[in-house]
Symmetry: C2
Subunit: 464 residues, 2 copies
Amino acid sequence: MNATSRDFEAYLQARQADFVAELAEFLSIPSVSAAPEHFGDVERAAAWVAERLKKAGLEHAEVLHAGRYPMVYADWLKVPGAPTVLIYGHFDVQPADPVEAWTRPPFAPTVVGGRIYARGASDDKGNMFAPILALEALLRTRGRLPVNVKLLFEGQEEILSPDLPVFVAEHRERLACDMAFSADGWQWSETEGDLRMGLRGICALEITVHGPKADLHSGVHGGAVANPIHALAALMAGLRDADGRVAVPDFYREVRALSEEERRLIAAVPFDEAKYRVQVGVEELAGETGFTPRERIGARPTLEINGISGGYVGAGVKTVLPSTASAKITCRLVPDQDPAVIAARVRDHLVKQAPRGVRVEVEILPNAGHPYLIPMDHPANRAARDVLVELYGREPYYTRSGGSIPILDLFRRELGVYTVVFGFGLPDENFHGPDEFLRLSSFRLGQLAYGLLIDRIAEISASA
Amino acid sequence: MNATSRDFEAYLQARQADFVAELAEFLSIPSVSAAPEHFGDVERAAAWVAERLKKAGLEHAEVLHAGRYPMVYADWLKVPGAPTVLIYGHFDVQPADPVEAWTRPPFAPTVVGGRIYARGASDDKGNMFAPILALEALLRTRGRLPVNVKLLFEGQEEILSPDLPVFVAEHRERLACDMAFSADGWQWSETEGDLRMGLRGICALEITVHGPKADLHSGVHGGAVANPIHALAALMAGLRDADGRVAVPDFYREVRALSEEERRLIAAVPFDEAKYRVQVGVEELAGETGFTPRERIGARPTLEINGISGGYVGAGVKTVLPSTASAKITCRLVPDQDPAVIAARVRDHLVKQAPRGVRVEVEILPNAGHPYLIPMDHPANRAARDVLVELYGREPYYTRSGGSIPILDLFRRELGVYTVVFGFGLPDENFHGPDEFLRLSSFRLGQLAYGLLIDRIAEISASA
């Protein structure tokens, strides 16, 4: 890489304390997209991002809307003929509940031991702020960028971006680019890079089992009237077979078989099962037989019940035979599963299996994302790989993640570009759980990485 | 029956408006025994009952305690040689949740269309108030009672009377009697009496399935780590077989087979299945094959899941693989099942069936009651039957109820007496559900019935 490419680094190093203070301010906004009572906070977070983009020297910063959720766009487009790079991230966060499980308040950020603790620190506010600061450093140091840049940050990623497809389709011209990078991701460890080749898709359903028209006394009526909780338990238990496979007809029909080469690449990624068991706190792992844990997480589809409820669960005993019971389900999908098709198969199966005496209602939720795989030799992938080699002094691992980032497939379909996942959090940072945090060292590394990436894209483009 | 036996009726008729106002005051106390935040209200209800007993002319009215819950005792013991009758009821009530399902506020009683609406109106405040008013009428009309009377009202029936066995054992002398009547029950219809021969016993358990030590992201970890909701669903689904039988080893071992005579008596009780389906709001009934709905409810044991919870059940989607999931279970028991034995069998079975990758914890809850059957020709039963024939002009039905009143078996074991269930609510009054109510006509009938009952016991005793 070019010997002068780190000229912007001093700018970043001199301002880390200010940047951390700004990040803390950003994290103190409880922008929980799943909770209607926080819609105003999601808007506040959007306004904060737009202001910060202007301050960084980016142009046309603007808050737009996709459905009821805000989006923030900005750009810097002053190098005719050079490639245009789209950088993506999100400023909404997961709910903080159970709040009582947090050691520190989720929306009053605390810096302890080189880490900043808050909901959204790692997923994704810290990660999405890094490229903004990188661009500011390049602009302030050199007065210009070597390529054209567009930035798009969304406020509905944690509810799986229901209104984004229409938004991207409507703004296809404004978002047009040659490649994209997502700041929503993480590296392997403090010393090892991770180039994510694939992410799973997702579909979501909610099932409600309806029994008697009102809650009944379980003594007076138990034995004559079907209990919706029993019916729901039977339906849920029937969703997996004894081998841990999803027991929905044709669930696996379109799943690509793993090639030997793919299995080899996955096996090359280090995985300490004993350490992982301690990390998550279980005595043994579980899942589909015939596949390794990494294959099961990254390259095989799953069906998980995310929540279940019915009847009385307060203190003491209430002898109720409830009127309804319900559950929320998400499936993680791999190529070439289509979320709408799989959701419909799960729904149809559940309705068909409805036990006697109850009525089963299944709603397919709007939250959906297609599975994603980027070609190994894609130019954006190469630029990212070169930066990771520069930063870590070794090849990154080539991995597949079990999570879902619907926008990756969306950009490919609507904008015709591949997106490289390029974030600098680490996997132990409790995203989606209590005590989420981000290492300040990762925050700094992300800023440097995006500066190097912009230069590397310009170099690869010039030499092409 | 004696021609002068209704001399007290005019006293009751003249005061119904006052009695209803008093009942409304009693119902406005939210004496929910299951909720620690209402412990003070349970005490307030006890104090109200003790005061009302004194006002009725009963003696030695006193608030005692069984564990942390209040009891109220009073008596009138001035007829040496005459039988002593114990009258029982309870002033605690079920929780009112879901409160949003109520048409009227549960603790602000409303009189509409000859009914009083409030939590506890039928179960059991209205029913337990009736004998107090009957005794007052007898005492004010005649200055004396023809038999000795003791009254015992408890504040923990709705949590299945955990501390009552010790209390009754400790107060065996004070509670000594020849027969007992429970004002916690109901009649068949506005025109038909119901003599309850048997009630089911009960045991209660809570199961918690422990998975990872904290909630995990279901995309990042789903496929490798067992999901406690799936494990719980499988365990709960496995508790019943395809014939609706409880699939716990030896669950039915001590169950008495139904005789042809018992099946005939049960079949003689009218049961309009179509009407019942409309009443509870289901399209078809369900339960153990080989038995009629009435047999399944009254004479066969059941296992019902009363509540289930786990993961995220708020608005929207949260892709969580939760740390725990739990359920509450009660079994209804018939002669000769022992609640402690059955609870232990259910617990042991669940623990043994624990799926891979999770830990199953089962707690046997203190709430327990033995099943109960009164002999057909018992004198207390005969007195009650005669009053019901007098009131309704026809034989009552001889039924078995699916509910549990632990005190019935307790009185038999500790006091050596049988207890007749003698309450005047009706089965459609939404006890344990939203919009509970009591017909004011039933309230009046209960007052008259208890007055007639006291006289009839004296007559049967004198002629013996």
